[in-house]
Subunit: 186 residues, 2 copies
């Protein structure tokens, strides 16, 4: 390995869409690596960016949801989360909309905590996690027909225990939660 | 919302493979939710399980790699990682193999730190992260033709800084690293 060498961008020699559906866009790229090696079949999944919310009420409880996830075939605790829609003015606007729709909670003080990648090798999108402190119940849930979500208020100790036991299973949610707990020594 | 209700498993009414390639298997499920709502077009991506390694040398430095990732189009610091092959006797055997191939390091004391999901809604696989303390250089790198990876030893402070700044971009790597830093107060 040459000293000071850093792995360089691949060249795309060709690109073809295999699927373009509302919830799945798959592309095959023919790529050439810096050393000339070619890979005619590198798959990329295009997704819009996503948002998560670490929401806490005035008394310090964490607002989590439970939802069945068909990929794993399990129902678990999760952060409120969703997709940034074209109509959302910003990632924070999308996160505020998702929190209100899925839980009926809103208001409070918001800040961006992290921007992470679900899978940098094959997926094009990023996931923004916001912290919302002092949220309060504003309305009823407004779920879409295919959403089946329950809302839960958990103590700091309960969430820490979920994290320790990998019961917050989605890495995109566990990573910012651990960051928050680590930064606040919770 | 009924009290004590927990979101239940969906029923699969039909299932069809859209793509079955070595690196991408996509399936469309026709599903029925507990309330009877049907979704004829729910996409699932089937993947084998993955492994990550948080490897540290005897002097406490973290063994990271740099690799270009075509999904995001960026080269960043990462944990050594890979796919569990059918020939691997266990997730730990896969992790030991990947560490040796990608970095030439091995030995040391190993333990399982976390099992997380890349995307519980659409992906079927899990990611196992192992901690390997006191690893040492054993051989040269043995990279595949399409791997272009450099190896780096970073201090605890340098890795903490990468985490704080979201420069460990992959959530599947950031989550167990934060867990490790949080549990060890690093």
């Amino acid at each position: 390995m040459k000293k000071d060498y850093d792995p360089q961008k691949w060249e795309v020699l060709g690109s073809e869409y295999l699927l373009r559906r509302p919830w799945l866009t798959a592309r095959r790229d023919h790529v050439r690596l810096p050393d000339g090696t070619e890979n005619p079949e590198y798959y990329i999944l295009e997704y819009p960016d996503w948002v998560n919310v670490i929401a806490r009420t005035r008394d310090g409880r964490f607002l989590l949801i439970r939802q069945y996830r068909h990929g794993l075939g399990e129902t678990r605790y999760e952060l409120c989360a969703g997709v940034i829609d074209p109509g959302d003015a910003s990632p924070e606007a999308a996160a505020r909309r998702e929190l209100l729709e899925e839980t009926g909670y809103g208001g409070g003080r918001w800040r961006l905590l992290s921007i992470l990648s679900p899978n940098a090798s094959a997926m094009t999108n990023l996931s923004y996690t916001f912290v919302a402190e002092d949220v309060e119940p504003l309305t009823e849930q407004h779920l879409e027909a295919t959403e089946d979500i329950t809302v839960h208020l958990l103590s700091t100790g309960e969430v820490r225990s979920l994290l320790e036991n990998d019961e917050i299973k989605q890495a995109l949610m566990a990573a910012p939660l651990w960051k928050y707990f680590c930064q606040h020594s919770l």
